[in-house]
Symmetry: C2
Subunit: 307 residues, 2 copies
């Protein structure tokens, strides 16, 4: 293999070209931060979460909001929505918190006296990759990556692609949510889910089904006490954080909704956000790598501005 450095620094002119896409570029510092760029966004640069593909997991400590990605896991997302609508997760618990890896939740009695899955399927084929055609609004990120031939964003999700195989997949960045499975590729039903709480375990990409992303509430999962058993599972003597309920946003009364919006990754401004992360400036930064790793590219989320 080549041991030479395969990355070329991006010329600074890339930044200037990209920022020309902003209506108010004149207001920006010479090298704005991602936050500076976000402040210049227009309402049309954001999309609300789809109530039919957004989950509220209510913990005693607060709400975790998960956006499902049915384009990338059509069967997995559908089965999870069945489980949610039938109240499967209500009263279950956090099962595992492994430092620098994942938090995982589901049925504490899955191996002894499992809760019924109701009308949900017990086995769902692994959706480790999907056809590239599923991947809507893909915008390529122009940074090389060791885990995927191409990287980028699709509807606010970080993705990898293999143009030769014509496949695409969600990438294991911080906050991504996946379907726990055993050795068989169809052994994950969605009844046990995990969220990434550590350094991006990208080697899991194409090995397991990712179904979405935590868009709010990560501190509630990442801050859980680590479990004392192997792989961070909680032992019999350790307290498990209970899950009060998991609801589909569409089934929650309007007044109780979170009203979150995600920046459209296909909007011109998002290129500027990633450029700002790539070409950090300002008085604090003394060195700029002119590179940003896929999982360090921010995906802005905000509450819908009040009228």
């Amino acid at each position: 293999m080549s041991l030479t450095h395969p990355f070329r620094a991006l010329p600074l002119s890339i930044l200037a070209i990209s920022l020309a896409s902003l209506a108010h570029a004149a207001d920006l510092p010479v090298r704005p931060s991602a936050g500076d760029v976000v402040k210049l966004s227009k309402p049309s640069d954001w999309r609300p979460l789809d109530p039919n593909n957004t989950l509220y997991m209510e913990l005693p400590t607060g709400r975790v909001v998960i956006e499902l990605a049915p384009d990338f896991a059509p069967q997995g997302a559908a089965n999870i929505k069945t489980l949610v609508r039938e109240g499967y997760f209500d009263g279950l618990a956090m099962l595992r918190s492994q430092d620098n890896y994942v938090a995982q939740w589901g049925d504490p009695n899955a191996e002894t006296k499992p809760k019924s899955l109701g009308s949900a399927k017990a086995k769902v084929p692994g959706e480790f990759t999907v056809p590239m055609a599923n991947d809507k609004h893909f915008v390529r990120q122009q940074d090389a990556d060791g885990y995927a031939p191409q990287i980028g964003h699709s509807n606010g999700f970080p993705v990898g692609r293999d143009p030769k195989a014509k496949t695409t997949w969600l990438a294991h960045c911080y906050g991504m949510v996946g379907v726990g499975r055993d050795n068989d590729t169809d052994s994950g039903s969605g009844a046990e889910l995990y969220a990434v709480t550590g350094n991006a375990p990208r080697h899991l990409d194409r090995n397991i089904t990712l179904v979405g992303r935590v868009v709010s509430g990560m501190p509630l999962l990442a801050g859980l006490p680590r479990g004392g058993e192997a792989m961070g599972f909680y032992g019999a003597s350790e307290a498990r954080m209970p899950i009060k309920s998991v609801r589909l946003e569409a089934d929650v009364p309007e007044a109780e909704r979170s009203h979150l919006e995600v920046m459209r990754s296909e909007a011109a401004i998002y290129k500027d956000v990633v450029d700002a992360a790539r070409n950090r400036g300002g008085p604090w930064n003394k060195f700029t790598p002119h590179y940003v790793e896929l999982c360090n590219a921010p995906i802005p989320v905000r509450e819908h501005p009040k009228d």
Copy 2:
């Protein structure tokens, strides 16, 4: 810049060649896990922590063990050791926990009624990079990287190098410990320190002085409640985790020491550990990237085996 995929998959033969370095390779599965490899290590593959460069930070929740890297931050490490020996950190507190970023500690009253730094320096020149000659026992990791011309390990620390500039630096992987600073490069004294608790913020490399690594106790830092103020600082109404004491291991009675060992990154077996992380096998893995990002290469730590 090139938009083609610059990485080549490692041929599987690399693994076979590398495993020949193990005395007991015949005991290994065809594609062993990093844990399988570690089990075959010899006592000489490990080194004890140096008591004169190891800190014990005692929190109410337990002990955090930090190994200093004086080769990479000679002045920073020396100043921190002065602060520690004079009891500076005793009674201070965790100041900040920002989700997916860092936990930071120091003097809660630094801006109003600061604790005396004693005989430690108030300003230490930034040691963002050091001459490549400082970097002992460097072993290159053969995976491309977007943030550094070369990457590898030196005495169990993850490092980047620039052979043209003849510089080397510690890399911001999970658990790395650095010196908080303001805009001036010499504004960090070591009186305020941080540990990385999220996805590796490698853009901080070459921008701030890293002084070492948490080798035990990361869950106590990464599991801290996130602060409610900007950048995860705790507000006046939020409880801060107090620091009972920080001691140099050399100043702690033998019976109270942790007796940790780090795998020698220059030992032949460490190449096998990284290869195992790169070429994941076994019944669970369905896809292997034949690549491992610097911060996903494990750096094994263990308690010294009892006689």
